[in-house]
């Protein structure tokens, strides 16, 4: 789209550059990574809130890559690193129309280096689409009527994005299906939920994101938290799940699930429940820290330490 | 009387050029800034003018935008009207000045003049402050008399520089000599009958009843302003121009 051309920066030539191809030993056969986790096992999640002191709320989310042995320099599977900042609730600009509810806006952007193919500085349509999904997921959670005439911005930067498939795969350079987007969305939901809690916006519950997929290998059996490079995904589903209410605020499902769609949704919810334990733990810890910090601060002002890291090993 | 020293912004006014005043107070006009205890700096570039009688000094400069000052006579253009006042523009792209709906001679709710957007009025500035809207009126509010102010109908408004407008309004000294050294209006006035209103905001309204004469007067004014003609050159131009219209 010519309209989206970025005119504020000196951009690289439009032809672009070809991605680096690393020389590998001729005898080294590139092998597609294989899932080593159980089908119902989630990858390890690292989540911490309060990473950006100047924002009202913030959080950082990371899924480490699965440790498959490899012979080349290029990692065979990707990982996910997302930061989220929340600004607000704050008054709407003067020229904005009256709103009796909190106006939540989301802004999802991949860092230019987040994926194998460089991303531009201007948001493209997939990023906008993710923004809409995230907005839907969060709007149902925040209690908007508590904050009339206010706005709240959720800004997400994806530092490293999940890939859509195995990079060396024959098909479209591993870009078919754009399944990686679904993992990114689940991560966005979880991290935004943590950041919103950190910002102290009223919510009905914590919303956590979960992904499940139907893969070709397992003959219709579903997997939780699929890493696109490890699977040949047929259908996938993301949910934004409120555990205490057993409700779904956001659901995005695509692909040919046939009759297995119900099981797919159930699996996605299961994944969301798993993520929730980390989310709840991280938010709880941050809250404890804050309470602790305020009492400590009264005594000792020099202590400015932030929250500790938290690593939780999870099995289904 | 006029001191021709040229000052640049930030330059100090030498103490010898300060007027001696009996009371020991000085009046600072536009373009000057006082830094206690006794330093006076200029803020614009121009020539320093000193009035020893009134113990006042100011800086004259030819360019720049007109800044409203209380008591100035201006030609304002109605932009739009609201319940209480007309919003008028004095210069383009600046905040509007307010002209009360009833700020005309003998105006009350029934007899007030109905002005449309784009109409011109000759008015006096009654309030000019940094924090509030500038206010103008078309009559002297203490006497209730128009004093020549009011809506201007017909005629033509010419744009001149604010400095030239000021020169036009300086009036004559004791010898009948033009202080502003502009003789266009007087000299032409000897041959041609016309009405004129000079606004400090750089507008001169002329109406002679005849298109050709009005155009000539406007052209002479603009020429005198833009080419900086001295009195002699002005006289020459006037003679030539009047010949063209057959006077």
């Amino acid at each position: 789209m010519a309209m989206l051309a970025d005119r504020r920066r000196m951009n690289a030539p439009p032809g672009g550059t070809s991605p680096p191809v690393f020389a590998s030993l001729p005898e080294a056969k590139l092998t597609k990574p294989i899932r080593t986790r159980n089908p119902d096992e989630h990858r390890k999640i690292f989540l911490r809130t309060g990473v950006v002191p100047s924002a009202s709320g913030s959080a950082y989310y990371e899924i480490s890559p699965s440790n498959t042995p490899r012979q080349t320099l290029v990692p065979s599977s990707s990982s996910l690193k997302i930061t989220c900042t929340v600004h607000g609730p704050r008054p709407l600009p003067r020229n904005a129309a009256f709103s009796s509810n909190l106006l939540l806006t989301t802004h999802v952007k991949f860092a230019p280096f987040a994926t194998r193919q460089r991303r531009g500085y201007v948001r493209d349509s997939s990023e906008r689409d993710l923004g809409v999904h995230l907005e839907t997921a969060l709007r149902g959670v925040v209690i908007g009527d508590r904050w009339p005439k206010s706005g709240c911005e959720v800004v997400i930067t994806v530092l490293e994005g999940e890939e859509d498939g195995w990079w060396a795969d024959a098909e479209e350079g591993g870009k078919a299906g754009s399944w990686g987007m679904m993992n990114v969305l689940a991560g966005c939901i979880t991290v935004a939920s943590a950041a919103i809690a950190d910002a102290g916006v009223d919510c009905v519950d914590l919303v956590s994101g979960g992904v499940a997929a139907l893969t070709a290998e397992r003959n219709g059996e579903g997997v939780l938290d699929p890493c696109p490079s490890e699977h040949d995904i047929k259908a996938a589903c993301v949910v934004g799940y409120l555990q205490s209410r057993d409700e779904v605020t956001e659901m995005w499902m695509k692909g040919d699930a046939g009759s297995g769609s119900e099981a797919l949704i159930d699996n996605a919810v299961k994944a969301a429940v798993l993520t929730r334990t980390v989310l709840a733990e991280a938010v709880k810890e941050a809250t404890e820290m804050k309470i602790g910090k305020t009492s400590e601060a009264a005594v000792e002002t020099t202590n400015t330490g932030k929250g500790k890291t938290k690593d939780i090993q999870m099995t289904g | 009387m006029a001191d021709t020293a040229i000052l640049l912004p930030g330059e100090e006014v030498l103490s010898e050029s300060l007027p001696k005043s009996k009371k020991g107070t000085l009046t600072l006009g536009p373009g000057l800034r006082h830094i206690p205890p006794s330093t006076i700096l200029s803020t614009t570039s121009g020539t320093l003018h000193v009035d020893h009688k009134k113990a006042a000094l100011w800086i004259e400069h030819a360019h720049g935008r007109y800044l409203p000052a209380v008591g100035d006579l201006v030609i304002a253009q109605i932009h739009h009207s609201s319940a209480e006042a007309y919003a008028c523009s004095l210069t383009p792209n600046t905040p509007f000045a307010l002209l009360g709906q009833l700020a005309f001679e003998g105006a009350n709710k029934k007899t007030r003049p109905q002005l449309k957007a784009g109409d011109l009025v000759y008015a006096r500035i009654v309030k000019a402050s940094k924090w509030e809207d500038t206010e103008i009126e078309c009559y002297n509010s203490s006497t209730g008399k128009a004093e020549g102010m009011g809506p201007l109908s017909g005629g033509m408004a010419f744009d001149v520089s604010p400095a030239f407008a000021r020169r036009l309004m300086m009036g004559t000294d004791k010898n009948g000599k033009q202080k502003g050294e502009v003789v266009v209006l007087e000299e032409v006035g000897e041959k041609v009958r016309f009405e004129v209103a000079v606004g400090r905001n750089g507008k001169v309204w002329v109406d002679s009843g005849s298109v050709k004469e009005t155009v000539v007067i406007g052209r002479l004014l603009k020429e005198a302003d833009e080419s900086g003609l001295d009195v002699e050159a002005q006289r020459k131009a006037i003679k030539k121009a009047l010949k063209e219209v057959g006077k």
């Binding site: 789209m1 010519a2 020229n95 | 957007a117």
Partner: protein, 251 residues
Amino acid sequence: MPLDSSTYALAHLRVDGRRWKELRRIHGQMSTQAAADGSSYFEMGNTKIICTVLGPRQPTKSGGRDQSREAIIEVEIGVAGFSGMDRKKRSRNDKRTQEMQYTISSAFASTVFTSQYPHSTITIVLHVLSQDGALLAACINAATLALIDAGVPMQDYIAACTTGSTASYASNDEDADPLLDLNGMEELELPFLTMGTSGGEDKVNVLVMETRIQMPRLEAMVSVGLDGCKQVRNILDGIVREHGKKLLSSR
């Protein structure tokens, strides 16, 4: 595909079999969309336009008090990606489109009694579904019909068509014929102009020419154009009357 002008010289028939002063089939419909204040569908040969008119209504753009003493006519033209031979997406900021929007807006600004609707906006939205020459002319005609449908008071209405000349600009062909209502292929080859007139007399509202041509050709083209616009006007008249009859009989 160069236009074979030799055939024309022989038989005086154009690529699509028309004679020099023949219009293509013109078809128009009014009130095609219930949601709009006025709407129309207009075909000039294979050029197909859908037009909707919204308003006169309050300006949608907030901010800045609007003190205009007359209605503003806004025109939006959307050229569908599938309208041409090749699929091409024309962005809305395209300068050619913007120029057309301005032309239509200022043409109607002097025909519509805009002073009756101070502080308001009349929006004309044009969708080009298919293009085969005479794009601007068809847009103007479609807008005319939609404005009539919307009941916007006008002094008169504008009818438009294109005229061309069989001589290319270089040849100083003395017996070059003027042509009426060029199709897309002819437009690529031959010099042409778009003309919009109002009233029964020869009053020109719009005249846009983008191709190079010898001055003597112009006169013939203009006079054929004036005549063509009259023909178009009669057709538009018919469409409006037909529509009016339908409305009355349905009551």
